[in-house]
Amino acid sequence: MGSKLSELKNYETAEIVEVSLDSIPVVNRLADLGLQKGQTVTRVPGSPWGGVHSFQLSNGTFALEDWICRNVTIKKEVNK
C-alpha cells in the first residue's frame, strides 16, 4: 500500500499511483490539472495553517483541499 498525497512534505516529489474519489467531475478536474496516474507531483508551500495543500504538477501549481489529498495514492521519491 502506497503513501497518500497528504503525507508528502514540502519539495518532496512523488508519482501518482491512484486517484480514488467517487465524484467523477472532481476526478476529471484533477485530470485537467494533470493530477492523474503516472504523473509526477511536487509538494510546495501551501497554507501554513493546513486544510489546503499545494502541489506543482507538470506545468502549474495547484492548491487542493486536504481530503482530496487523502484519497490520492502516491509512490514517493521519484525524479527527486
Partner: protein, 594 residues
Amino acid sequence: MMSVAVVGKPNSGKSLLFNRLTGLNQKVTNFPGITVEVKKGERNGVTFYDFPGFYSFSAITQDEVISVEKFHESLVEKKVSVILCILDATQLSSSLRMGLEVRHQAARTATPIIFAANMIDELENPQSIDWSGLRDQLGAPLVPISAKTGQGYNELLETIGRPVDPPKESPLAFFNEATELSARFGPKREDASSRTSFWDRVFLSPLWGLVSFVFIMTILFQAVFTLAVPFMDSIEMLVSFSANLAVSYIPNGVFRDFIVDAFFGGIGAFLVFVPQIFFLTFIIGLLEDSGYLARAAILCHRPLRFFGLSGKSFIPMLTGHACAIPAVYAARMIDSPRKRFITLLIIPLMGCSARLPVYAFLIAAIIPQTTYFGGLVGLQGLALFGMYLFGIFVALGVSWLLSRSSRLKVQDIPFILEMPPYRIPHWQPLVVRSMQSILQFIKRAGGIIFVATISIWVLGYFPDGNLDNSYLSHLGHAIQPILAPLDLDWKYGVAILTSFLAREVFVGTLGTLFEIENAEENFSGLLQNVQNAGLSFASGMALLVFYAIALQCASTFAILKSEMHSYKGPTLMVIAYGLLAFAAAWITYVIIAA
C-alpha cells in the same frame, strides 16, 4: 458578418487580448437566467464573444458549466464562424489539454479554429518552443503573441481576417496528446518560475504570510473606505447642486419637495456607492491579476471552512465592512454555490459604514467618555470595536448553523485552486472591469433603490407634509407596542422604520423628531435631547444590538435580489434578520435591566 468566439483557460490572458481586440467598444451579454457574463465587442465589422474561462468541457463549477454549454450551443447553432483559442505559452501542456478539446469540438461542428499562444513575453526564450512543428501537429493556425506588449498582435489580426479551414477530427486522448506535444515542441522546463517560488515562500510562510496578509487587507479596506470618500462627496455635492438648480425654477409646494427629497434623494442614494464599487473592483482585480488573491484564499480556507465558508469568502466579508453592495459583487469569485450562498447571507451582518453613524450616536448617548492608559484607550472606542466584533461573531454563528442545515448539505465543489504565477497586472482590463461593475450596479440596483426612496418619502410626507402627522408616523405609533418591551417610544419606532431604507437615516430621523436640525452634524444637541428624554442604558444597548443584526438597506436588498434572481431570498433575509435582531435586542435589554 464574421463572429469570433474567444475561449481559453482562466488566467490565460484572454481578457487582456479581448480588450486589445475590441477596445472599450464592448458590453456584457447576459444569457437568460444566469450570472455568467459573455462579453461582446466589435472591431472592423468582426464581432468577438469573450466566454468566461474554463479548464475543460468536464466543467464542475456553475459558471464553467454554463460557459461550456453556451459555447457549445453557439458552435452547434453556427452563431460563431471562427474560434480563437488562447493558450498560455508559459503553461503549455495544460493549455493544450483544453485547446485540444476545443479543437475536437471545432472539428465536430466544422468550425475553423485559430490558436493564439499568449504571454510569450514571460518566456525566458520564446524560440525554445517549436512553433512550426506545433502548428503542423495542431492542424490549425497558431500565432505566438503577447496581449500585454502587442507582440504578434498584427499577425493574429491578419490570421483572423484570412479564410481558415475547419480542423480534422482528432483522437480523444487529450491529456496524453497535450503532454506529448508539449514535450516534443514546448520549452524543456515549464515549472513555476523562481520569482513565484520566492514570493510563495513569503506570502505562505507562517509569520510573513500572516503579516503580509493583514497588511494587504488593511490597504484594501482603507483604499475602499478612504480613496472613495472624496468621489462620494463630489457625487453628493453634484446631486445637491443639481437639486438646488432644478428647484430654483420650481415654486414651493409638494412638487418641489418631491424633486429635492425624493427624486434627487433617490438618485443620490445609489450613485453615492459608485466610487466604492469602482475602487473595490479595481483593487480586487489588481490582487487577482497579480496572483495574490489565490494565495489569500488558501490562507483563509481552513479557519473559514469550520464555519461552512470558503477561503474565498474572506474578501466579501472584509469588503462588507465598507459596504455590502461591493461585497455582494465580490462574492462572485466563490466557486462553490453553497459557500457563495452562505457568504451572501452573512454579508449584511458585517459592520458596514452606514452603521457607523448609528453606533457612534448610540454609544455616545449611553456610554461615558471614560479613558484609560492616559487617554490612549477610551471606553466608547472599545464599545465601537466591540460592535464590529459582535457583527462578525453573529455572522460566523449564522454561517456555522446554515452550513449544518440539511437543506444546504448538497453535493459541493471541493477547494481546487490554480495558483497562477505572480504577474504585474495591466491597467486596461482592470479599468474596463471596474467600469462594467458600475454600469451593472446602476442597471440592476439603481431602479429599485430609486423606487424605495420615493416610497418612503411619500409615506413620510403625506397627508400634510408634516412628518409628525405622516403615514410613517402613524406606522411608528402602530408598532410602538412592539417596542414597549425594549422601553422605546414611538419616535424610535419611526426612526427604525425609516432606516429600513438605509440605516444612516436613523440619526437624521431622530433629529427631525427631537427637533434638531442637521442632526448628523449636530450630534451634541441631539444627544442632549435624547438623554433628557430618558434613553436608558439597557434600551440603548438593545438598539445597538438591533442595528448590528437587522438588514436595513434598500441597496443591499436590491443587489441581493439581483444576485439571487428572486425577491424571496432577500425578503426572507429581511424578515429573519429582523426577528433575530429583535430577539437579541430583547434578550440584551432583559439581561441589562435585570
